[in-house]
């Protein structure tokens, strides 16, 4: 214990520095996404075989590599065990899995909430700071942001600009009438999720690299990431989980298990206001979908963060 103490003190000293990184896109609140009509034909992104053999093709592939292998390709900007493609399946191509072709053409985006226009580069920086818990994000003109933007641009080839395409985001799954239930959620998790993500949400590795992503704890997304919202996680889960078995859970199961996952601790919201969970809740979480940040669940204050 005595040996551990200075380490703890050191990380506590460090944490304000990490939290103090400039937040490129402060507003991480949700976008509303209607459920697409059945038997719809989704936008089809181009194939890699169509890429030209020049600097553009190479840049697209560089962005692709960053997208599917983020932790290893950009270790200085990834503070947890996640890769972009963990939440954007099929390399950012899959409809209802927040495909890049559904997002890229919607930027620059105006957000009424803070009366601000955000660029796609800032959106990507937000992903690094929140979903990847990466601290200071890559600069807007960095190799990483340029390559990822080029990859997203290429996936959006022939997509209309400023049009909300069906299949974008994670289509909303409305909250069950009786609300969510954490006990039922734990049971769904045990039956359907633990085999890949582990009994304690810790994910699974092969060697040093995560194969199945950690869902909570210090190696997962932080309290500022969009996925921390129960409604967003429920939508993602319903349309994408278990892997390869979309829509196999009921709406209620998706909500229950999303709530179970998102009532576990994870790294602190880097927008932490004056070191106060309550002030941070009021400013960023109180009006952002369904989430438990700053609330007391089963006698425990949620949102204290883990390091």
């Amino acid at each position: 214990m005595k040996i551990l103490m200075p380490v703890c003190a050191f990380s506590i000293l460090l944490s304000p520095g990490v939290g103090a990184a400039t937040i490129a896109m402060e507003d991480q609140s949700q976008i509303k996404v209607p459920v697409p009509a059945e038997h719809i034909t989704y936008f089809q992104p181009p194939q890699q075989s169509e890429l030209p053999d020049n600097a553009y093709g190479k840049m697209v592939m560089d962005g692709y590599a960053l997208f599917v292998d983020t932790k290893r390709q950009a270790p200085q900007f990834v503070g947890n065990g996640l890769n972009c493609t963990n939440c954007h399946l099929d390399q950012g191509r899959l409809a209802n899995s927040a495909p890049l072709w559904g997002a890229y053409p919607m930027y620059p985006a105006y957000r009424k909430k803070n009366d601000k226009v955000n660029t796609f580069a800032e959106r990507l920086q937000g992903c690094f700071q929140f979903s990847m818990n990466g601290g200071k994000p890559p600069a807007a003109d960095s190799r990483e942001i340029t390559a990822l933007s080029t990859y997203a641009y290429w996936l959006s080839t022939k997509a209309p600009v400023g049009v909300e395409l069906p299949g974008r985001g994670y289509p909303d799954v409305s909250e069950p009438k009786g609300g969510y239930n954490l006990v039922r959620g734990a049971a769904v998790y045990k039956d359907q999720c633990a085999i890949c993500h582990g009994d304690n949400g810790q994910g699974q590795k092969a060697g040093d690299d995560y194969v199945m992503p950690p869902l909570w704890g210090k190696e997962s997304y932080n309290w500022g990431a969009g996925m921390h919202r129960i409604n967003t996680a429920a939508s993602f889960i319903k349309h994408n989980m278990p892997l390869g078995k979309p829509n196999s859970l009921s709406d209620e199961q998706a909500w229950d298990v999303a709530a179970y996952v998102n009532t576990h601790e994870r790294p602190q919201d880097p927008r932490l206001v004056e070191g106060s969970v309550e002030k941070t809740r009021l400013k960023y979480h109180a009006n952002d979908g369904v989430n438990v940040y700053g609330q007391t669940v089963n006698g425990v204050l949620i949102g204290q963060g883990v390091q």
């Binding site: 590599a65 292998d69 399946l89 191509r93 085999i195 092969a206 690299d209 278990p242 390869g244 078995k245």
Partner: protein, 214 residues
């Protein structure tokens, strides 16, 4: 410190030694009951199987995974005319022992082929990209980079004989193998074509022989 370490070390060694003394090596000698043939006969001294016959590689596979398979052979949840009677001739204790032995056998080196690599064949495309238009995930998203295997539920594909992988995928596809948790593999195999099964089996059978390009 030193005397304590030495004491610990010698007791550990004694423990290991007495274990070896107490239990016969079932992998090499077979079980006590008739019919519990020695594994080495088909799976080889190095546990790498026999590719031309389609006998699978066992070396280095998770003891929990192997134990589940042997118990499934016992109960009929997994079907194999060769393995079922053999597994039935093993006691639970023997299963624990032999799966521990096999898990400790050195696994072949598997190149950490990552998803960022450009696939060069149909098999590699399925392995690294999947076929999401049919909800087929990348094989490596569960079985790990290069198909090295992950945890106790996702066995290695790397260095398994192509014949074995093809037979298993076909068994998942026609429903004769269904001992996977939550039908995770069954529904994928059912979405695959015959050509894809052959291609992906060939890919993983030889993936360990490929040069690693960063």
């Amino acid at each position: 410190m030193i005397p304590l370490n030495r004491t610990l070390l010698s007791s550990v060694m004694l423990l290991v030694f007495s274990n070896v003394q107490a239990q016969p090596n079932i992998y090499l000698q077979g079980g006590a009951q008739p019919g519990a043939t020695a594994c080495v006969a088909c799976h080889g001294a190095d546990g790498m199987g026999l590719a031309p016959a389609g006998f699978p590689r066992l070396a280095g596979i998770s003891a929990d995974y192997l134990s589940k398979q042997l118990h499934d052979f016992q109960s009929g949840k997994r079907v194999s005319p060769v393995m079922q009677p053999l597994a039935k001739a093993l006691t639970d204790q023997e299963i624990t022992s032999v799966t521990g032995t096999i898990a400790a056998m050195p696994a072949p080196a598997v190149p950490a082929i990552n998803r960022s690599r450009m696939p060069a064949s149909l098999g590699e495309t399925l392995a690294l990209r999947g076929a999401w238009d049919r909800q087929i995930p990348e094989c490596v998203s569960c079985h790990g980079p290069g198909g090295v295997g992950v945890g106790s539920a996702f066995p290695p594909l790397a260095n398994q004989p192509a014949l074995y992988l093809t037979a298993q995928l076909n068994a998942w596809r026609d429903g004769t193998r269904k001992n996977d948790p939550n039908d995770l593999m069954g529904h994928i195999a059912k979405a695959m074509t015959e050509d894809e099964i052959k291609a992906v089996a060939d890919y993983f059978a030889t993936v360990g022989h490929k040069e690693v390009t960063p």
